[in-house]
Each structure stands twice: as structure tokens, then as C-alpha cells.
Amino acid sequence: MAYITGVSMINVDRHYDKGVKKLAAEASSKALEDAEPEALDYIVVSSSFTYASDTQLDLASYIASYSGFRGVRALTVEAGEASGLAAVGVAKSLIDSGLASRVLVVGVDKLSDRPTWEVYRYFSKFYDVEGEGIYSIGMGGIAGILMRLYMETFKVDRLTLAYWPALMHSNAKLNPYAMLRFAITPEKVLEAPPLADPITLLDSFPLGDGAAALVIEGSGKGNALAELVAVESATGYPSIALVEDPLRIESLERAYQRLTRKVDIKNVDVIELHDSFTIMGILELEALRLAERGKAAEAVSRGYFSLGGEGPVVNPSGGLKARGHPIGATGVYQVAEVSLQLAGEFPGLKVPESNHGLTVSVNGSGSNAYIAYLRSVR
């Protein structure tokens, strides 16, 4: 058994005045309140961009000493955009195996220290650097190919796909930790400058810094926010060129299948998934069979995944699109958000009476995929 007993998030933004260690320490302190170092068995840090942009090696140890936890065991987990949930998975394994009874997971990354053109180069490393990564795939090149293919294959128009970012912005308005807290119309998405056509700037995430922390414990159901029931994952193809059907995220399908074999998942009320680009959010909904293939965008446009809709509420935080995507921290934000939803304490858009939640993390176009299932303890 593993329980989420404490969470904290730093608002995603350009924190020019704070470094990686400072952001991580602030999030950790808030999640742990006044815990002594002896009360902690492990610190698992997730960070990805820090490594790509050669800022600091052995980051977890430096975060440990900086945050007042010198002596505590620490390790860093890197799995590209899926680092955060990968770290949560490692923490849960430590608890389940009995090696630890209390683990702090901290996700942190800073994008604002680097010029945008450099950030684009680092983002291309989510993909195979010896394969398609030798070309200027930039930010969204591969996702752009997938989006056009989706539109052509399923005869979905660009405007229908623009309802996703509009929903994300609408959801983020109440989230104090979201970077973009203003509404946009679907039409506005089409008018925005192109990023990787047909993807526009408003189909992608803002470049912000963030840190989030979780305390995971083996016992302590009494004061827990939620139970972390299971975390599953699967690796996938190194390129969309190799997948028979590039519009299927085969790694996520497999991870989800593993999860449902392990646990009986009841009606899911709330999901935080990985919408690095509009098309990724749409393909993930279809991989989880929450919509028929080719139909997810249309379902989004008629409110199926909105609060009060027929389906589960998807990304009440605003998702990567509007909350933001501080790469290695994102998966930790998602687990914190869903835990707070299940406890009825999320400070943004609340999903009332939610008892079952999922979080989904994918690197690139699916080189790996992680999925977590959380349950209410109320």
C-alpha cells in the first residue's frame, strides 16, 4: 500500500530569481512541513531538462543537502517528459518492497534560463537523436506530422481540434498554480502564429519553470490525501515511422493494459494527461479507449470531457497546455493535482465527489508511457 500524505506545487512561471535547487527546496519544505531528516528514507528527484542543458549532475544529492536532508538516500530519475511519473513509480517500488516507509518525490525543471531557440534544441532530444533527431525537428515537428495525419485520416477539421486548448485554458482559470490563466476561443488557436504547422503556438505549452513535491508513505491512510494504487509503464517504438499505425500510442496502450490487468479500475472521475500538443492529448484519450478512434476531438468539442460532461473530467488543472510543462516536474504536478481532487481539496476547478483518478505521462511521441491509478480514501 502506498499513500500520498503531502503535496505541494510552485506556480509554473518564469522564476528568474530562483534556481533549480531553490525551487525544489521550496516545494519539498511545503510538502513535508516540519519533518526531520530522520523521518525520510529516500528522496527521488525527477528532472530532465537540467541534464539536457548541462546544469548540474547528481542533482538529487545537491537538492537533499540544500533542502536540509543531508544523509538521506537520494537518486535522480530521468525519463524525458515522463520523468515525473517515472520517479513516482520508483518511489512506490521502494515503499512496496519495504525498503522505505516514507519517500519524498520532487520534480523540478527550469526552462526560462535558456533562450527559446536553445530550448527547441533540447526538446528535440525527446526523440531519437540518431534517427529523426538529426533533422531540425524542433518543438512539435513530429507532433505536427501526427496532427496532419489525424486530420487527413479521420477527416477532422482544424477548428474541431482547437477546442482542446480552449478547454484547457478555461479549466486553468481557477488554478493558482497554472501559468496561463485566461480564456481563449477555438478561433483564436487557429489565428495564433504557426509553431509546427498545423500546430500553432496555442496548441503547445508555455515555457515555464516549476517544482512540485509529494510525500509517499507505506502507512498513514488516516491522514492521506489519496491512495496511490498502481503505477505502470511500457516502452514503445523509437519513431512514428516504425509504427504500423502512427496514430496509436502503442506504449500507452500497453501500459494501460498492464494497469487494468493488475487492478480493477472503477469509473474514472478525473484524469490528468500529457497534452504536450493538442494532438497528443487527443491520441491519449483514444489510447485509453475513452473515445472511439478519430472521435476524441469531436467529443472534446461537445463537452464530453468538461466538468459536468458525460465522461471523466480531463485536465481540470489546465493540463500541460495551460498549467504548463516544466518537463521533469510535470508528472509530479499531475499526481499532486489528482490527489487533491480525490481529497476534495484541489484549489482550482474541483471535480466533485471524485473517487477514482488517473495520470498519464508520455515522452516524445511514445518512446515510453507511464500511467498511475489513484483512489480516494474518504
Binding site: W117, E130, S136, I145, M147, D197, P238, A241
Partner: protein, 134 residues
């Protein structure tokens, strides 16, 4: 381009110059670039095959969000090209966004892929260009 080292660029030159792919002795499927094992079935029994140089554009993206070393040639057209026996991701060259459409015929040409001002690395390899109608 992602800051590959000179030796890394050199190691990949043959498959990049000649479009050499891996063919699986077990399942028969072909993958590019060649891997240590078949990405489909995991078999390590592979042979090298040269890919056809004519194909069809399955989908594409016009990429504006490129790293600094590619800014002068932005936007870059990135395509998913079907060569019949395999698909590849490549850059589409000798054409502007207005010349491109899904389903069009493309052919492989040898080009400079990138010039990394920071590391001094020049990467050459295959790109695809639209086939002119006769």
C-alpha cells in the same frame, strides 16, 4: 540537429548517405535507421538493405520552432515518407510550403542536413524533394 559529436556523425554516415536500413531475418520487416535488433520482434538476426529512393509523402509539418543553427532556413518542412518497404522521417527540400501536399511523389537527394556553428559539425545525408511532373 541536436549537437551530435563528430564521431557520432561519422558512425551514422553510411546509412544516412545511402539510405541503408535493417531487414529482419525473422519477421521480414525493414526499419530505418538500422538498429541492433528488430524494433518489431526483437530478433537480432538482421541484414542490411538499401531503401528505394522514390516514395510518397504520408504527412508533413512546417516547422518554425527550430534551434538557432537552423533559423536561417526556417521554416523547415519535415515529412513522413512511405518508401513502400519502410517509412522514414526526413526533411523535404527544394520546395516551399506552397509546393507540398499529402500524397505527392518525392525522391531522395544528397544534401547537407545541418551545420552546427557551435561544434563545427557538418552533417550530410538524405533529404527528399518533390518529383517534378513530366
Amino acid at each position: 540537429m541536436t549537437g551530435l559529436s563528430v564521431p557520432a556523425v561519422w558512425r551514422g554516415r553510411i546509412h544516412r548517405y545511402r539510405l541503408v536500413a535493417g531487414k529482419c531475418n525473422s519477421c521480414g520487416r525493414i526499419h530505418y535507421p538500422p538498429s541492433h535488433s528488430c524494433p518489431h520482434c526483437g530478433s537480432r538476426g538482421l541484414a542490411e538493405v538499401e531503401l528505394p529512393r522514390m516514395g510518397r509523402l504520408v504527412s508533413y509539418s512546417i516547422v518554425y520552432s527550430v534551434p538557432s543553427e537552423s533559423r536561417s532556413k526556417a521554416p523547415v518542412i519535415l515529412g513522413l515518407v512511405d518508401l513502400g518497404v519502410a517509412r522514414v522521417i526526413s526533411e523535404i527540400t527544394d520546395a516551399g510550403p506552397e509546393d507540398i501536399s499529402v500524397g505527392m511523389q518525392v525522391e531522395a537527394v544528397f544534401r547537407r542536413i545541418t551545420e552546427d556553428g557551435e561544434t563545427g559539425v557538418l552533417v550530410y545525408g538524405v533529404k527528399f524533394r518533390p518529383v517534378k511532373e513530366a
